[in-house]
C-alpha cells in the first residue's frame, strides 16, 4: 500500500471532474473541469482542474498514491456493443473512441498529468457514486441508493454501507432505467438531455399529474429489488436514435418543439397545458419510484438512514418527499451526478481499500479554488468599472445587504468555489426575495432563462424553521437542506412575504446556511434581515447564459460586464456600475 494523496477522476460522458483526497481521508480539493475550461458540462480529461488542485494544495502529482478513475470504459463499450442498433452506428462509436483513445484511460492520464500509469486504477461507475455518498455522510451505517441513467450496465444499485465497507445488495440493469425514463421525457418536452431535467421539475407544478398512475404502471417491481420498464415508448439504444419512439407522441400528443416560448400565465394554450401535465406526471411518477426504491432499500438492509447518489438524486422535489415521508436521516452528496464519481472513487480507495478511518460528515462544499484579495484587486483594476476596497467583512456585509434591500442584484464571489451544481454562497447572484420584480429582473436580464424557473432561498439556520416547514428542524451536518438538495413547503403565513423564492405550488428549494460552515454568507443574510426583517435571500448561481458557474475573479468581472448586475462583491472589493 502506497501512502499519499489519492486523485479521483471522472470524465468522458458529461461533467468531468477531479477530487483530491488526503491519505487520511480529508477532501483537499474537488472541482468540475467546466469551472476552469469555461465549457459547460465539459467532459474532457480534467487536466485543468487537476493542475489547479495540485497548485492549490501543494500536492506533487508524483506523490500521489493512486489515481482512481470512476468507471470501466471497456465494460461500457461492451454494453454499447450489446445494445447498439446496427453495425454502422457501432462503427461510428468505435471511430470516436479510437480518435480520442477513450478506452486507454491510464495512458491519457499519464500523458495529461504526468502520472505514472501504473498508479491508475479503475472502479465501477455505481460503486463510485455509492462511495461518494456514503463516505461523506454522517452515518456509520446506511442504505445507499444510486439512481442514474446508466453506468457500465447498472441503472439503479442498492448498497449496504457499514463503517469502511460498501456491500452490494441489489441492482437494476440497462435498459430499465429511471434516469433514462426521465431524460426521454426531458427530450420530449423540448429540453436538452442531461441539462434540462431540472426544467421539467420546474415545469411540473404548473400541471396536473393526470398520467402519473399510467406512467407508474410502466414500471414493474421485481422480488430481487430491481424493476423493469416497458420499452414500447422508449428507445435507449446507443447510436443516435431519439430516446423515445413514435408511440410516445401517439399516446401523449406531439412533443414540445425545443425553444418554444413559455406562455403567459393568463393565457396557457392547450398544448402547453398538456406539456405541463406531462411534466407533472413524469415528476410524480419519478418520485413514487424513488420512494419505493428507498423504502425497499431500508427494508432490505434493516437500517433507517439512507444516502442517495447518481444524477437522479439531484431531483430535490423527490428528495424532499423522501425526507418527509420515509426518513429524515437522509444524505445526498452535493455533486450527485457523474462529477461526484471522482470523489467517490478517491474516497473508496482511501477508506475501503486502504482502511483509513472515515472523517466527519461533509459540512461544506466550498472545496474548489479560492479567490483571494489580491486576485480580486487585480480583476477590479483591470476592469472598466468603479470599485472600492471595503475595510472589513462587517462593512462588506452591511453594504451589500443595504444594496440588496434597495432592490439591487449583486454578484457574490467569496472564498473557495462550490463543489457540485448548486451555488451556495460562494459564487452566487443574490437579490431580495421580497418582490417578484427582483426575480423577473434576474430571470430576464441577468440569467436570460425561462420565466417559470424558480429561484431558491438562502436562510440562516436559526431562522429556517420560522419560514419553511422542515422535516428535521435540527438540520445536522449533511442535511439535504444544507446543500439546497431538498424542496420543502414555505410556511403558509410567510409565502406572501417572499414571493420571489416561493414557487407556484408554495414550495422552495431551500438552502439553510450554518454560521460555522459559511460565516460570511451567514453574516450577510443576517445583515439583510436587519434591514428588512426577513433573513432570507434569493440565491442563484453566478453565471451567464450557457456558461458554467464563474470561478475566478476575472470570470466574475466578465459576467458582471455582460449582464445587468448592479454590483459585484469579490472578497472585500465592491465593484459597481455607478459613475464616480
Amino acid at each position: 500500500m502506497t501512502a499519499g494523496p489519492v486523485l479521483g477522476v471522472a470524465c468522458d460522458y458529461h461533467d468531468s471532474a477531479i477530487a483530491l483526497v488526503g491519505s487520511d481521508g480529508d477532501i483537499l480539493f474537488a472541482a468540475e473541469e467546466e469551472r476552469f475550461s469555461r465549457r459547460k458540462h465539459d467532459s474532457r480529461l480534467p487536466v485543468r482542474a487537476a493542475r489547479i488542485a495540485f497548485e492549490h494544495t501543494g500536492v506533487d502529482p508524483r506523490d500521489l498514491a493512486a489515481v482512481v478513475y470512476y468507471e470501466q470504459p471497456l465494460a461500457k463499450l461492451d454494453r454499447l456493443h450489446r445494445h447498439v442498433g446496427d453495425d454502422s452506428a457501432f462503427e461510428g462509436i468505435v471511430r470516436r473512441w479510437l480518435a480520442t483513445s477513450r478506452a486507454d484511460i491510464p495512458g491519457r492520464l499519464s500523458r495529461g498529468l504526468g502520472i505514472d500509469r501504473a498508479r491508475v486504477a479503475l472502479l465501477t461507475h455505481h460503486l463510485s457514486h455509492a462511495a461518494s455518498a456514503f463516505y461523506c455522510s454522517p452515518f456509520e451505517e446506511a442504505a445507499v441508493v444510486v439512481i442514474d441513467g446508466v453506468g457500465e450496465d447498472e441503472t439503479v444499485s442498492l448498497w449496504r454501507g457499514r463503517g469502511l465497507d460498501l456491500e452490494p445488495v441489489a441492482s437494476c440493469v440497462f435498459p430499465h432505467s429511471l434516469g433514462l425514463f426521465y431524460s426521454a421525457f426531458t427530450a420530449f418536452l423540448g429540453f436538452e438531455v442531461n441539462e434540462g431535467e431540472y426544467k421539467v421539475m420546474g415545469m411540473a407544478p404548473f400541471g396536473r399529474p393526470r398520467w402519473a398512475e399510467e406512467l407508474l404502471s410502466e414500471f414493474s417491481f421485481q422480488p430481487d429489488g430491481s424493476f423493469r420498464l416497458r420499452q414500447h415508448w422508449f428507445d435507449f439504444r446507443p447510436g443516435g436514435r431519439l430516446p423515445y419512439t413514435a408511440g410516445l407522441a401517439e399516446r401523449f400528443g406531439p412533443p414540445r418543439p425545443p425553444g418554444t416560448d413559455f406562455p403567459q400565465a393568463t393565457d396557457v394554450p392547450a398544448d402547453w397545458q398538456r406539456w405541463f401535465d406531462l411534466a407533472a406526471s413524469v415528476q410524480v411518477c419519478a418520485e413514487e419510484v424513488i420512494l419505493r426504491l428507498v423504502r425497499d432499500a431500508l427494508q432490505r438492509t434493516g437500517l433507517d438512514a439512507v444516502c442517495l447518489a447518481g444524477g437522479v438524486a439531484l431531483n430535490s422535489v423527490a428528495n424532499g418527499r423522501v425526507n418527509r415521508e420515509v426518513t429524515s436521516r437522509l444524505f445526498v452528496q452535493p455533486a450527485a451526478g457523474d462529477a461526484g464519481g471522482a470523489l467517490g472513487a478517491a474516497l473508496w480507495h482511501v477508506h475501503c481499500r486502504n482502511r483509513r478511518p472515515r472523517r466527519q460528515a461533509m459540512a461544506s462544499c466550498a472545496l474548489g479554488r479560492a479567490v483571494d484579495f489580491e486576485e480580486a484587486l487585480a480583476a477590479a483594476r483591470a476592469g472598466a468599472f468603479a470599485w472600492r476596497v471595503l475595510p472589513d467583512e462587517a462593512t462588506l456585509t452591511s453594504e451589500v445587504a443595504r444594496r440588496l434591500a434597495a432592490g439591487q442584484v449583486v454578484g457574490w464571489v467569496q472564498g473557495r468555489s462550490e463543489w457540485g451544481p448548486r451555488a451556495l454562497g460562494q459564487r452566487s447572484i443574490l437579490a431580495s426575495p421580497l418582490t417578484v420584480e427582483a426575480r423577473d429582473m434576474v430571470n430576464l436580464k441577468i440569467k436570460y432563462r425561462e420565466p417559470f424557473r424558480p429561484f431558491a432561498p438562502s436562510v440562516t439556520k436559526e431562522a429556517a424553521a420560522d419560514w419553511f416547514d422542515l422535516p428535521d428542524q435540527d438540520l445536522p451536518d449533511g442535511a439535504a437542506e444544507r446543500f439546497m438538495l431538498s424542496v420543502c413547503p414555505v410556511r403558509a403565513d410567510r409565502r406572501d412575504a417572499i414571493p420571489a423564492v416561493t414557487h407556484v405550488d408554495g414550495s422552495a428549494r431551500v438552502h439553510v446556511v450554518d454560521r460555522q460552515a459559511s460565516p460570511l454568507y451567514h453574516a450577510l443574510i443576517q445583515a439583510f434581515g436587519r434591514c428588512t426583517r426577513v433573513p432570507v435571500l434569493l440565491n442563484t448561481s453566478f453565471n451567464v447564459r450557457g456558461e458554467p458557474l464563474v470561478d475566478s475573479a476575472a470570470d466574475a468581472m466578465l459576467a458582471f460586464a455582460l449582464t445587468d448586475l448592479d454590483a459585484l462583491a469579490i472578497d472585500r472589493i465592491l465593484v459597481t456600475k455607478e459613475t464616480s
Binding site: L77, E91, G107, G240, P257
Partner: protein, 592 residues
C-alpha cells in the same frame, strides 16, 4: 459549368436588412408563415466564411402569388439565368411540398452549431410530413436527437421535388445533390451568422466542384489541395501553417490571404505605385465582412481617392491584405519573408496584439520564455491550461515586443517603412446592445475563449503600457487603436464579438491608417523591381497518427475478458481495412 450569381455593387452594405424586409413583406401576412431567422439586429455567430442556414419559409407553404412576390423581392440577387432557375423552382414548389435537405457536414463544425441548425429545422418543419434528409452520417445523430419526432433519413428520396440546402464546410457532396443542383432544383442561401447575404443556385456553393474562376486557388498547390479537404482549411505548411478555403465573402489566394488578384505585376511596378502590405490576424483579415469592407480594401480606396502626387505624377496605391486568422507576429514575419520578397512593399503594417497574447496563453512555457515562440495550438492538444499570472503576463508581453522589434528590423532592413497598429479589443469600449449580444453568443459558441477573453482588460492594459515605451522615439511607427475605439459610445457597433470588427469598425481603422500614411508618404520613396524568385522544393506530405488503433482496442477487449466485443472489433478492423498503426502492445486494466 457552375454559374455564379454576383450581387450588384452598392447593395452589400444593407443586404441583410433588405433580405429580411423582402421576405417579411412577401410572407409576413400568410398564416403560419414567418421567417425562420435572419434579423439583422439579432445576435451574430462566429464563423465568418460559411453560410449557416437556408430555411426561408414557414410551416404552411405560401401561395404561388406570395412566392412570386418573393421572387420579385429577390430580383437583386439574380442574374438572368438565376431568375430562370428561381422561376423554375417556384413552379415546382407551388405544386408540391419540398423535402428539406440539411447538409450538415460535420467536418470542422462545432456540435453546438449542428444542434442549432437542427433545432431551427425542428421548430419550423416538424409537422411538415416529409422526411428531412441529413446528408451526413455523423450529423444525423445530432439531428435526430434534436428533431424530436421528425423523420430523418440519410439517403436522398427518389421523389424529392426540391430541396433547400444548408451550406456547410464539407468538401464531399453526394452525387444526388450535385445532380439536383445541375437540374436547377437546388437553392442555397448564404448566411453570415444570422445575416442573410444572398440566395443563389447551389452549384456555386459546392466546394467539391468549386467555381473555376473564383475558387481556383484551392487547386493551386498540394498544400492548398489538402487544406481544401479539411474542415476549416488550416493545414501545416512547411513554414508554419496556412489556411486555404473557399471564402464566400471575397477572394482569398492559395495561402489564405485576402488577396484577389495576381501579384506578378506588382514586382515590376513604377516608383509611383506604392504597395502597402498589411499583416495581422483575423482582425486584419476581416471575418464577417465582405472583401471591400475590410480596412485594407478601404485604405486602398481612400488613399487612391486622395489623388496624392509626387513630382507632379499621380501616386497609385495597392494595399495587400496578408491577414490570416489566428496568427501572431512571428507567423506574420514568416509570411512576410515568404511572399513579400518579390513584391517589396514600401510600407508594412502589422495590425496585431490580440493573437500574440492569446496564443501565448496556451504556448509551452519553455518555447515562450526561452525562444519567444508562439503558435496555434495543434488539434488534440486540449490539455493545456490557460492561466494568467503576473509572471506569465510579463513573459507574454516581452515575447510580443521582442518579435515585434524583430519584425520592425526586418522590414527596415528590406527598405520599407514599418507601422504597428495595436488592434482594438471590445473590452475598451462601452458596448452597444448588439456588441454585448455578439460577445455573449461568441463565448457561448467558442467556450474555450472565455478565459482568454476575461483576461483582455489586463492584457490590453499591459500591452498599452509597454508598447508606449516601445514606441518612444518612433511615434510615427505606432498607433494604439484602443484609444479611438474607447472614445466611441454605446451607440456605435464596432465589434462583432471580443475583437472582430464590423464594417463600421473597419472603416474607423482605415480612416486612422489613412491619416497616418498621408503624413508619412511624402518621405517614402518608390521601390525598384526585385530579383526573380528561385523555384521552390517539393516537401513530403504530413499525416496524423492516431493514438490507438482498432487492433489494439480489440486486443485490449480480449485481454480484459470481453471476448464477444473483441471479436466484433477484430471483424470491423478487417472489413474496413482501417486497422490503423500497429506496434503498440495491448493494455490491460488495473481494476480495483
Amino acid at each position: 459549368m457552375a454559374h455564379r450569381v454576383d450581387l450588384p455593387p452598392g447593395l452589400r452594405q444593407s443586404l441583410a436588412d433588405r433580405a429580411v424586409a423582402s421576405l417579411e413583406a412577401a410572407f409576413g401576412q400568410a398564416d403560419g408563415v414567418s421567417i425562420a431567422f435572419g434579423r439583422a439586429d439579432g445576435p451574430v455567430f462566429n464563423e465568418p466564411s460559411y453560410g449557416d442556414l437556408a430555411i426561408l419559409l414557414g410551416q404552411d407553404w405560401p401561395t404561388g402569388d406570395q412566392l412570386l412576390a418573393a421572387a420579385e423581392a429577390f430580383a437583386w440577387t439574380a442574374s438572368d439565368l438565376a431568375r430562370q432557375r428561381l422561376d423554375a423552382w417556384l413552379s415546382v414548389v407551388c405544386s408540391s411540398r419540398p423535402t428539406i435537405v440539411l447538409w450538415a457536414a460535420g467536418i470542422g463544425r462545432e456540435p453546438s452549431t449542428l444542434a442549432l441548425w437542427a433545432r431551427m429545422v425542428a421548430q419550423r418543419f416538424r409537422y411538415w410530413g416529409k422526411p428531412i434528409v441529413v446528408v451526413d452520417e455523423g450529423a444525423a445523430i445530432t439531428v435526430r436527437e434534436q428533431l424530436a419526432g421528425g423523420e430523418v433519413c440519410t439517403a436522398m428520396p427518389a421523389d424529392v421535388a426540391v430541396a433547400v440546402l444548408f451550406l456547410a464546410d464539407s468538401l464531399v457532396v453526394p452525387r444526388e445533390l450535385v445532380e439536383m443542383a445541375e437540374a436547377g432544383r437546388l437553392w442555397a442561401a448564404d448566411f453570415v451568422g444570422q445575416r442573410l447575404m444572398k440566395v443563389q443556385p447551389t452549384a456555386t456553393g459546392f466546394r467539391a466542384e468549386p467555381d473555376p474562376t473564383f475558387a481556383r486557388h484551392l487547386e493551386t498547390h498540394r498544400f492548398s489541395r489538402s487544406a481544401a479537404k479539411t474542415g476549416g482549411g488550416r493545414i501545416p505548411f512547411p513554414f508554419g501553417d496556412i489556411r486555404v478555403f473557399d471564402n464566400l465573402l471575397g477572394p482569398t489566394d492559395a495561402f489564405g490571404h485576402r488577396i484577389g488578384g495576381p501579384l506578378e505585376d506588382l514586382a515590376s511596378r513604377t516608383s509611383f505605385h506604392l504597395v502597402i502590405a498589411v499583416f495581422g490576424g483575423s482582425g486584419a483579415f476581416g471575418p464577417r465582412c465582405f472583401h471591400d469592407e475590410t480596412f485594407a480594401a478601404r485604405l486602398e480606396r481612400r488613399l487612391n481617392a486622395l489623388q496624392l502626387r509626387r513630382d507632379s505624377q499621380p501616386l497609385r496605391f495597392t494595399v495587400l491584405n496578408f491577414g490570416r486568422s489566428g496568427v501572431a507576429v512571428l507567423q506574420e514575419m514568416i509570411h512576410f519573408l515568404l511572399f513579400c520578397h518579390r513584391i517589396r512593399p514600401e510600407i508594412v503594417i502589422s495590425h496585431s496584439g490580440m493573437n500574440d497574447l492569446g496564443l501565448a496563453l496556451s504556448t509551452d512555457p519553455y518555447l515562450l520564455t526561452a525562444h519567444d515562440i508562439t503558435y496555434w495550438e495543434p488539434e488534440g492538444a486540449e490539455e493545456r491550461p490557460l492561466e494568467l499570472s503576473e509572471r506569465d503576463l510579463d513573459d507574454m508581453v516581452s515575447t510580443y515586443l521582442r518579435r515585434l522589434q524583430q519584425f520592425h528590423e526586418i522590414v527596415q532592413a528590406s527598405g520599407a517603412t514599418f507601422i504597428h497598429g495595436l488592434q482594438p479589443l471590445s473590452c475598451v469600449k462601452q458596448p452597444s446592445r448588439q456588441e454585448k449580444l455578439g460577445l455573449i453568443e461568441f463565448l457561448r459558441y467558442w467556450p474555450d475563449y472565455r478565459k482568454a477573453v476575461s483576461y483582455h482588460p489586463r492584457l490590453v492594459s499591459a500591452l498599452r503600457r509597454d508598447l508606449a515605451q516601445w514606441a518612444a522615439g518612433r511615434e510615427e511607427a505606432y498607433i494604439d487603436f484602443n484609444l479611438p475605439f474607447s472614445a466611441r459610445g454605446a451607440d456605435a457597433t464596432l465589434f462583432y464579438d471580443h475583437c472582430h470588427l464590423t464594417a463600421e469598425g473597419h472603416a474607423l481603422v482605415a480612416d486612422i491608417y489613412a491619416k497616418r500614411l498621408v503624413r508619412l508618404i511624402p518621405a517614402i520613396p518608390g521601390r525598384a523591381p526585385p530579383p526573380s524568385r528561385p523555384r521552390g522544393v517539393v516537401l513530403p506530405d504530413c499525416g496524423a497518427v492516431a493514438e490507438m488503433s482498432i487492433t489494439t482496442l480489440a486486443e485490449a477487449a480480449e485481454a480484459n475478458g470481453f471476448a464477444e466485443l473483441a471479436s466484433r472489433l477484430a471483424t470491423m478492423g478487417t472489413e474496413s481495412g482501417c486497422t490503423g498503426p500497429v506496434g503498440k502492445s495491448p493494455f490491460t486494466y488495473p481494476l480495483e
